[in-house]
């Protein structure tokens, strides 16, 4: 789950984009002079003109090296609501990003193009961290894209608010207890500001509850030896995570007063100073700068606290660059070249990394947003050192609390089956503890188990029928 979505703005923009596409702005193909034209996802809808300019610079560089390919950018953000309809209507871009949460399912459903013959020829294909490239494969092992900007869940915070509350912004909390005490201090010093908050709607409530449960050693889905997946959300780690949130809300009064917050809503609340500290993906600063006018020098991020449980880990996610299932081989080859240029090379090639960083820097975009290694830690460190001279001023220092400790945290992937359904069902439970003083958490979680297990079992029945 990368950009948990379904916010109005994106939905509206999605519809607008679909409209543009319908009116003939989309659907690349072969042109009369033998060139191949592809439409690629450029920036998120609503992003600034500068970010679009940075993208255009990249396109020019690519076309210089590939004169037989014409690249056109289209503002695009993958959302469930628009994807199926755009695929059916033939208005999807040729290249776009899909969150880890959904990539395997879409690939297995035949909704993405099989890029195995093209991607397997890339020089770094075999270097991928096997756990990371796995999200781009279907159940038969075919490859549908390459993952990029993998992130780990983290705690984002407003450095100014820390200072105003008498806290040291260079020493963010390292345990859940410290998160709570800092949140209390901030809300006490700055009335109306939520000291700490988590997302609650548009499936993000479940996403962050799952993350919080991972840090306490919990797993919401387990796979038995025979492949049967069991959902169990009625476990101590989930209940502790909910009780923790309830305490911040009801006892500490440090969760603010608005409890229906999806990904965009939360980022906007953080950008407007209503939330001082929240759980986010480690790479969220890019979107915060693009869409929410957040000043990078005022932004801090640290690793999510892990409890002492031996299974405690940090939830990770990211995006897979994929191709339109309806593209022809020439387009697929061109798309793979673009994916290699735009997402692959900057991670392994110094010249590409520097070119990209310069383009981003020139258009005032974030350079140096923290992520987790795509290949191995050494390659990632090397890539980071290439772009350090162009990094957004102050950002590398501000993200140090995260980058200096993320290496020690065990990475745990998201639940694999009916992930979005599970997250959606858990949204309600998170909302219950924030809006009701004593909700019956046990029965709410049991109801989630029954609902999601039924969906998973129905899949197994269908598979058995086939």
């Amino acid at each position: 789950m990368k950009s948990p979505r379904r916010s109005i703005i994106l939905a509206v923009a999605g519809v607008a984009a679909a409209g543009m596409a319908l009116s003939g702005c989309s659907a690349g193909g072969s042109t009369s002079n033998g060139k191949t034209e592809i439409v690629v996802a450029s920036v998120q809808p609503g992003a600034s003109a500068e970010s679009l300019a940075a993208f255009q610079t990249q396109v020019k560089t690519f076309q210089k090296a590939n004169p037989d390919i014409i690249v056109r950018g289209e503002e695009y953000d993958w959302t469930g609501p628009t994807f199926a309809a755009q695929l059916a209507g033939g208005t999807l871009p040729d290249e776009f990003g899909v969150p880890f949460t959904d990539s395997k399912t879409l690939a297995s459903n035949g909704e993405l193009a099989d890029l195995t013959p093209y991607i397997s020829k890339l020089s770094y294909y075999k270097k991928f961290n096997p756990n990371v490239i796995d999200v781009a494969k279907d159940s038969k092992g075919h490859v549908y894209g390459i993952p990029f900007s993998p992130y780990a869940m983290s705690i984002s915070y407003n450095r100014d608010d820390f200072t105003k509350a008498g806290l040291d912004p260079n020493k963010p909390p390292t345990t859940w207890d410290e998160v709570e005490s800092d949140a209390k201090a901030i809300s006490a010093a700055l009335p109306g500001v939520a000291g700490y908050m988590q997302m609650t709607s548009g499936n993000t409530g479940g996403w962050e509850l799952t993350s919080a449960s991972y840090t306490r050693g919990g797993r919401l889905e387990t796979t038995a030896g025979n492949g049967k997946v069991t959902v169990d959300t009625d476990i101590p780690a989930v209940k502790d995570s909910l009780a923790y949130l309830a305490k911040i809300r009801w006892t500490d009064n440090a969760a603010g007063s608005n409890f229906i917050l999806d990904w965009n809503g939360m980022n906007a609340a953080f950008g407007s100073g209503k939330v001082a500290m929240y759980m986010s993906g480690s790479d969220v600063i890019g979107a915060l700068v693009q869409n929410d006018a957040v000043d990078p020098s005022n932004y801090g991020v640290t690793t999510i606290p892990l409890e002492s449980d031996s299974k405690a880990g940090v939830l990770s996610g990211g995006t897979v660059a994929v191709a339109n299932a309806k593209d022809n081989p020439a387009q697929l080859a061109a798309v793979t070249k673009w994916i290699d240029f735009y997402y692959g090379q900057p991670a392994i090639d110094k010249a590409s990394a520097v070119t990209q960083a310069k383009a981003l820097q020139a258009s005032k975009q974030v350079v140096g947003a923290p992520s987790i290694p795509l290949f191995d830690a050494a390659t990632a460190d090397l890539a980071r050192s290439w772009i350090a001279p162009y990094a957004t001023p102050g950002l590398l220092d501000n993200v140090k609390p995260f980058t200096s400790t993320i290496g020690k945290q065990p990475i745990v992937p998201e639940p694999s089956r009916h992930t979005q359904d599970l997250y959606a069902a858990l949204d309600s439970v998170v909302q219950a503890v924030l809006t009701q003083e004593n909700p019956d958490v046990d029965s709410l979680l049991k109801a989630v188990n029954v609902k999601i297990q039924a969906l998973i079992d129905a899949d197994s029945d269908q598979a058995a029928l086939k």
């Binding site: 379904r6 109005i8 509206v12 959302t79 469930g80 609501p81 994807f83 199926a84 309809a85 695929l87 059916a88 959904d102 399912t105 879409l106 459903n109 035949g110 909704e111 009335p191 109306g192 609650t200 709607s201 548009g202 499936n203 603010g256 007063s257 608005n258 409890f259 229906i260 999806d262 299932a325 089956r417 009916h418 992930t419 979005q420 359904d421 599970l422 959606a424 949204d427 309600s428 909302q431 219950a432 924030l434 809006t435 009701q436 909700p439 109801a447 969906l455």
Partner: protein, 324 residues
């Protein structure tokens, strides 16, 4: 063009010169009598309705019997399993209850408001235009904009929310508005009433101008006061319009989507999940990139069937009232 002008000419001329000739049945006579021209004039309409209305309706009946994500499609087994899924889903019954609650609140509070305002405005002698503009203004504001405005400015549950500031003037404690299961739905109804009242007020105002002034004069001569005039003259004259706005309101509130989607996404704790929002969630917020489209379409058809039956019964029952 010759094919279209010829039958036209024949339609204008032939039947009058040869009245009551008992020829029927052959395609030629059908053409001579202007059948072809009629068909030609109908074609654009048939095409547009066929492609954009009837086609999708037929298509949705088919999809409701399938499992599909627009790429891989299989027939449901058993064929009615999508409908069965809906009936077995506890959220469906919750959504029915929530939608009913919304419709009821909107009926109790939202339905009389435009009538009362229209009657008051029709009595006002000065600044009538100004009041009309003020009443209609919310309709002109883009729905998404007004919902975001209400959500982030008026309904902010903190001490800085506009409504909470106003309440504090009267020493009333801050309310949670859309942040509580108890107050979320009434809050949505309040905004929906504000947003929709203007349009209905204009309809009532237009109807009120058609009430013959003699009726009021006669009532006054008979010694009727303002309430008696309202009860015995105004409301009976508005009855036909009120019956139509009533059914339009029921249909509109049964399909409420914008407010729950933009304000709360169905929360908190599904307290504002309506049928339309559930259809949206089935179709677009599931894990499989839309493989629940069949279920979503099944529920859409169920809603459409319910509203069609309800409307038919309503018009049947109220036929005698509106004719009187």
């Amino acid at each position: 063009m010759t094919t279209s002008t010829e039958p036209l000419a024949s339609r204008q001329g032939a039947p009058r010169t040869t009245p009551r000739r008992r020829v029927r049945g052959t395609p030629l006579t059908w053409v001579r009598r202007g059948g072809l021209a009629n068909l030609l004039f109908l074609l654009p309409l048939l095409g547009i309705f066929g492609v954009f209305s009837w086609g999708p309706i037929v298509e949705s009946v088919i999809i409701s019997l399938q499992h599909t994500n627009f790429v891989v499609t299989t027939w449901s087994d058993p064929i009615w399993s999508n409908f069965e899924f809906v009936f077995r889903d506890p959220t469906f019954w919750l959504a029915v209850r929530n939608t009913g609650y919304f419709a009821l609140l909107a009926l109790i509070f939202g339905y009389p408001v435009p009538i009362v305002l229209a009657v008051i405005m029709s009595e006002v002698k000065r600044f009538k235009g100004l009041f009309s503009v003020l009443a209609y203004l919310p309709v002109v504001v883009l729905p998404v904009v007004s919902v975001l405005l209400w959500k982030n400015v008026f309904y902010d549950a903190g001490a800085t929310g506009v409504f909470n500031i106003i309440l504090s003037w009267f020493h009333i404690p801050a309310q949670p508005w859309i942040q509580s299961t108890a107050t979320a739905m009434p809050s949505l109804v309040l905004e929906a009433t504000w947003a929709a009242a203007g349009g209905t007020i204009i309809i009532y105002l237009a109807a009120l101008t058609n009430v013959p002034p003699e009726l009021y004069d006669a009532a006054e001569v008979d010694g009727a006061g303002i309430w008696q005039k309202l009860w015995h003259v105004t409301l009976p004259q508005l009855r036909g319009i009120m019956l139509v706005t009533f059914i339009l309101q029921i249909i509109g509130t049964s399909q409420v989507f914008l407010e729950p989607y933009l304000f709360t996404q169905g929360g908190p704790v599904q307290s504002t999940t309506t049928i339309m929002l559930l259809i949206f969630q089935y179709a677009f917020q599931s894990s499989d990139g839309g493989s629940n489209l069949g279920v979503a379409t099944a529920l859409s058809l169920m809603l459409a069937a319910f509203l069609a039956v309800f409307s038919a019964v309503y018009f049947r029952v109220t036929r005698s009232w509106s004719q009187n």
